[in-house]
Amino acid sequence: MVVHVAVQAAPFDVGVEAERLSALSPLTGGVGLFVGQVRGGQGLRAMTLEHYPGMTEATLHALAQEAQARFDLTGCTVIHRVGRLEVGAGIVFVGAGAAHRGAALTATSFLIDRLKTGAPFWKREEYDDGRTIWVDARETDEEAARAWMNNPTA
């Protein structure tokens, strides 16, 4: 399995990343992908993503290795952006390739659910009226991560 992990300020190219996963192995039958982006509304203008350099990369690699151990993958990718991102901008890309669609799609959900509360990123929102707010972790996100941790066979 080939793991590709990146933490970067630059945008990611979904087409390039999808093609990377598709091309990894002739035994790949399905590729699951997820893109998280800055959701607008309520006057939100942008978000700034802060992270813990060094720990971030190590955490994302460990997460990708865990996905490999749980699911029968031909490869997986995790790319997370940092810095200031405006409404509509991509924040995170995760993807997984596998022989069958079930493993590819379940691994994709696993990667994004675990990344949300398990990798050292923090979001500060910036509103049109000048307010800035550090985002609180959502209880539903923490539950989703715990569900994976409590169910090592899924």
């Binding site: 990344l115 509360t117 923090w122 500060r124 550090w134």
Partner: protein
């Protein structure tokens, strides 16, 4: 640098404290994260307030999520931060 640990703060904590790192002297035999926290809180009321304002404070020792019972020894890197909100 002997008998020192680096302490880092991130996100709302970093902002509230107004600095992103400290260098702290500890006993060569080490201390728990909880004891280290008490030590830096005692030395700086701003840090004490900022840590108290985080009901779900997280800690990493040497870039691995840890508990407050974890032993910290000289040379370690200890980071305090709020719950993570990536993705």
């Amino acid at each position: 640098m002997a008998d020192r640990v680096t302490v880092l703060f991130f996100a709302a904590l970093r902002e509230q404290i107004g600095q992103e790192s400290l260098s702290v002297t500890i006993p060569a035999s080490g201390v728990t994260v909880a004891a280290l926290r008490t030590q830096i809180e005692g030395a700086n009321p701003t840090i004490a307030q900022a840590l108290a304002d985080q009901p779900k404070l997280r800690v990493a020792v040497n870039r691995t999520l840890s508990t407050f019972e974890q032993l910290v020894t000289p040379g370690d890197e200890v980071a305090f931060f709020p719950p993570m909100t990536g993705g």
